[in-house]
């Protein structure tokens, strides 16, 4: 028992060290790495939303919808209404994502499996066509450049992203450990039994979906602030599929897994694009195939393997 406690302590220390490293990263890492980490964290928030649904057996192929809604809400607020207060922009992106999810969720909660995936995809494509065609408001195919002020430097946005990411990790963990989170897992294994226990599957799915929509909007808003540009492709089906890709890449077993997956994904994408501009998709596809066939629990299962090794090593020291 004491060994377990000591191990848990080590675990917490590792997370704390990781957080401190990220906090001090701008001191010793170059700007582009900071940027990639920020994008990785922001997209990781969206992926966490996808993962929470995946834990209930629901494949959301439409999280681009909330992602794009959050991003465009920030862009429109900055460009058209000239609102520059981050304190206002972040809740706005949250509301845009969560509000959309509260609407679509009313319909989506009736669907399961592949139909859930396809209907959510259709919703996302609807937003894509709207963003794509109504260029008076949305800037059309080119999207919109966001007019950021001088004082809101990229460093400010990095820390903003990091702090919000930590908040989301805490909330995500609370969600997974909550009654709703456990119920979601039960829904994946057997819906009818959940109903027999007296719980409402439709409510469980709806609330999880809205929560996940909030995360999608927040991630989108942060990406918009970091990149300074929004485009309709944020809602296209390839963007949606990328989120599911990263969800499986990271794994669904731990609240930190989506962030690990997302940051790794961003770095791999950047390097693949740099070294072989014509075959970067192939690299990503190849990695995904390797993960599916050889590491089906995702990258996070590697850390669990390390955990086991460490415990074995501690045991061997005792003997």
């Amino acid at each position: 028992m004491r060994r377990l406690e000591r191990f848990k302590l080590g675990y917490r220390v590792a997370i704390l060290v990781g957080a401190l490293l990220l906090m001090t990263a701008p001191l010793f890492l170059s700007n582009w790495i900071i940027f990639v980490v920020a994008i990785g964290c922001a997209k990781g928030i969206v992926v966490l939303g996808v993962v929470l649904l995946l834990r209930g057996g629901l494949i959301s192929l439409g999280h681009g919808l909330y992602y794009a809604a959050g991003a465009y809400a920030v862009a429109i607020a900055l460009n058209r209404w000239n609102i520059r207060a981050t304190l206002f922009l972040i809740p706005l992106s949250l509301l845009a994502g969560g509000g959309m999810a509260a609407l679509t969720g009313l319909l989506l909660r009736r669907y399961r499996g592949i139909f859930f995936a396809m209907l959510s995809l259709a919703f996302s494509m609807i937003l894509y066509t709207v963003l794509f065609k109504f260029y008076d408001v949305t800037g059309g195919t080119d999207g919109m450049r966001i007019h950021l002020t001088k004082e809101s430097s990229s460093l400010f946005h990095y820390y903003l992203t990091l702090i919000l990411t930590m908040g989301v990790i805490y909330l995500g963990r609370r969600f997974i450990m909550s009654r709703l989170g456990y119920m979601m897992q039960a829904v994946r294994y057997n819906e009818i039994r959940v109903e027999y226990m007296g719980a409402s599957v439709s409510k469980v799915i709806y609330f999880s979906y809205v929560f996940s929509g909030f995360l999608g909007g927040l991630g989108g808003g942060l990406v918009a602030l970091n990149v300074g540009h929004v485009a309709p492709e944020l809602a296209y089906w390839t963007a949606c599929a990328d989120f599911v890709f990263v969800a499986v890449l990271g794994g669904a077993t731990h609240v930190l897994a989506p962030f690990l997956g997302s940051i790794v994904f961003e770095f791999v994408k950047n390097y693949a694009f740099k070294f072989s501009p014509n075959t970067w998709q192939m690299t990503l596809g190849g990695i995904l195939l390797v993960i599916i066939f050889f590491l089906p629990q995702g990258l996070w299962s590697l850390t669990e393997a390390i955990e086991r090794k460490v415990i074995q090593w501690q045991l061997s020291l005792k003997q």
Binding site: L54, F115, A122, M125, A241, V244, M282
Partner: protein, 298 residues
């Protein structure tokens, strides 16, 4: 009146084009229970192979009409090489997995194939418009219209007929229907289920590649054509009901006519109507028009 006729012509032309792709997806889903994202790449491969072979063929001194059989040969080539490769090497390992795994596996294959195409044929667009101009113009109901879409409609009809005959009138089709009904019992009755899977996948891939090969003369064949196609096909099979070829035909007609109407009346809504239609149908009929009833787990 004229607009209505043009909308109908455009819609049916688009529908026949879409049918060749969607029929394959829905057929593969019926047998293998996998929504194949890589279908878009097979379509693109068919288009490239068709454009490449036809261009090479038209370079020689052969009669130009022979380029049509060449397009069919191109589709066959793609189907019998890529089809078994995908099904035997990757898909057969994941039939038992949760739904997200097959979806992502085919997505990964889609990403890989997109770049394979770029590696093999380069990134410059290719044009083969000879077969298109060969069909000339048709005067119908007072309107002059390109002849090629009618050829496409004819081919789509032939495909539908062929698929119906294969499924309902052959020994292979009887086995396929049995596998669709119940994989385990089919296997117990002595049907070689893995072989049926492979052949069904090849047949579905052939339809997509054929669609691609016959699209090649209408468009500039360039990287990324498979990306837009696949999501349209998803809308169609969602409307028609997954696994139902007849449903795919109905879905194509609805989508084709709705899109053509939007293009002529209010172009901003061109793509919007397609997905709005899909959502509308899925709200009224959650499994699409001809989607089957699924057994719930207790």
């Amino acid at each position: 009146m004229e607009t209505v006729v043009i909308i109908l012509f455009d819609g049916i032309g688009f529908a026949s084009w879409l049918f060749m792709i969607s029929a394959g997806i829905t057929f593969i889903f019926g047998v293998l229970r996998i929504l194949n994202v890589a279908h878009g790449s097979i379509f693109a491969l068919g288009a490239y192979m068709g454009a490449w072979l036809a261009a090479w063929f038209l370079g020689g001194h052969y009669p130009a009409w022979l380029s049509f059989p060449i397009l069919i040969v191109a589709a066959l080539l793609v189907a019998v090489t890529i089809g078994p490769l995908i099904e035997r090497v990757f898909l057969k390992r994941i039939y038992q997995e949760e739904e997200v795994i097959p979806l992502l596996t085919t997505f990964a294959l889609f990403l890989v194939l997109e770049d394979v195409i770029k590696l093999v044929w380069g990134i410059e667009p290719r044009f083969v418009d000879k077969p298109f101009s060969l069909m000339g113009q048709v005067r119908l109901m007072g309107i002059s219209y390109a002849g090629y879409p009618f050829l496409l409609t004819g081919i789509a009809f032939l495909c539908a007929l062929l698929l119906w005959l294969v499924i309902n009138r052959t020994w292979f089709g009887r086995q396929v229907r049995s596998v669709i009904g119940d994989r385990e019992i089919s296997s117990a009755m002595g049907i070689n289920v893995p072989r049926i899977d492979t052949f069904a996948f090849i047949l579905g891939s052939f339809l997509a590649a054929l669609g691609g090969a016959f699209t090649a003369p209408m468009i500039s064949v360039e990287p990324g054509i498979g990306i837009d196609v696949i999501v349209l096909a998803f809308a169609v099979v969602g409307i028609g009901g997954l696994g139902s070829v007849g449903g795919a035909a109905l879905g194509c007609l609805l989508v084709g006519v709705a899109r053509a109407a939007a293009v002529h009346l209010y172009p901003e809504l061109e793509l919007f109507v397609i997905y709005a239609l899909m959502i509308f149908v899925l709200i009224l009929r959650p499994k699409g028009f001809f989607g089957g009833i699924e057994v719930r787990r207790i």
